[in-house]
């Protein structure tokens, strides 16, 4: 079993790698490989797409690695491999990112990524621990409950078109999408690798998940 943690020069993967390695050891999920190589992604059984920073820059970086996006798309959309997007890696699932300019996402989960609506006294970035409201049961959320906290840091959020794709949200001046999912695809706006026990649990669930 091989899980590819896709490295496209978007942020630090060190913590993510260590968190996935720890939970892979606990769940017997095999090898975690940080990679930019489309061939490794093509061979992987599971694909994780992290991402920090601005939406257009992340999309551009991903497209800059020849064949990397195509390998992810083939694995996820054709072969149905389990996929987890984290932070901007989750936002990439959208139809459109509206940060700075309009940028096409993967369009695997319909919607758009827009600025967190300003409100008096509301600090942006949304930074810190917020309590999840679970909207829909899902194997990757096993053991997570409404009221559990996850660590967020972001200024844009994913507004999903179909409520069936919203697995969990938090309240920050209004509902903010926390977890999305459909078929073999899940994504978290928060950072599981920074969310202590809750994050490690979610990672373990993902490594066991057979959609």
């Amino acid at each position: 079993m091989l899980t590819a943690l896709v490295d496209y020069d978007s942020g630090n993967l060190h913590s993510a790698e260590k968190a996935f390695q720890r939970m892979a050891a606990e769940t017997g999920a095999g090898e975690i490989r940080v990679t930019s190589d489309p061939e490794v992604v093509a061979r992987a059984d599971r694909i994780v797409l992290p991402g920090d920073g601005a939406f257009p820059a992340c999309r551009q970086a991903l497209d800059g690695f020849g064949g990397l996006f195509e390998a992810i798309e083939e694995g996820v959309r054709v072969k149905g491999k389990p996929f987890l997007g984290i932070c901007v890696g989750m936002q990439m699932l959208t139809s459109w990112g509206r940060e700075f300019r309009d940028t096409a996402g993967f369009d695997w989960i319909g919607g758009e990524v827009v600025a967190i609506p300003p409100a008096p006294g509301l600090k942006v970035p949304h930074m810190g621990w917020n309590d999840l409201v679970i909207d829909r049961a899902h194997p990757v959320l096993d053991g997570l409950a409404t009221g559990d906290h996850a660590y967020f840091v972001h200024s844009y959020h994913f507004r999903v078109d179909d409520p069936a794709h919203l697995l969990a949200h938090v309240d920050y001046g209004g509902p903010i999408t926390a977890i999305v999912g459909r078929d073999n695809i899940v994504g978290t706006q928060f950072h599981p690798e920074k969310s202590q026990a809750l994050g490690l649990r979610l990672i373990a669930n993902f490594l066991r998940w057979k959609p």
Partner: protein
Amino acid sequence: MLKTRIIPCLDVADGRVVKGVNFVNLIDAGDPVAAARAYDAAGADELCFLDIHATHENRGTMFDLVTRTAEQCFMPLTVGGGVRSHHDVRALLLAGADKVSFNSAAVANPDVVAEAADRFGSQCIVVAIDAKTVAPGRWEIFTHGGRKPTGIDAVDFARTVTAKGAGEILLTSMDRDGTKAGFNLPLTRAIADAVDIPVIASGGVGTLDHLVEGVTEGHASAVLAASIFHFGTHTIGEAKAHMAAAGIPMRMT
């Protein structure tokens, strides 16, 4: 609802915690990684490492510490001290920091904040502001550990670095730091109300009520403290319970 964060800060020099951390069961009180693990287990919301003797020669020691901490503590880590450019930011992010803090380099040239935020995103760029009261309702930026006045108004500077793309401000009141007399609340409130990014209050915490005041009167999004936690005066859990009892939304673990 977003919770108020409690952030223990470890002052590090040459790879060791300055003054030590006095925890029960902590065998090496001077090991920052051991201290970080203890705070992780205690439910701290984030960690902060401050390299107080940062020099070119000893950077490798800090990178190693950050890497080893990030391998063991799956929680947010901010690192500051001696950060001059986006090159330093990149090196610390790659080592495993989640956020990197500029201090005097941002005072000398606020554009370093913009350069780093453009490259890595505002979410990982913190600006540490060290300010002193110079007249009632007026605060000035000081550098070099509070010794060197700059003539720059702290509130104006906070607005400047926010516009440059800082994602958070770590505000230390230099006239309170180390006094245990509580945060400089008028300063904290003036800055927290002037910018729309989160402000971490720092400097002067001596009691749990001081933590409460930093939020209720200072309008801070997070509170940073060192000695009250390091010396075992209070645990993170006690601090959270006290703040929650005062009506502040906290993440109880």
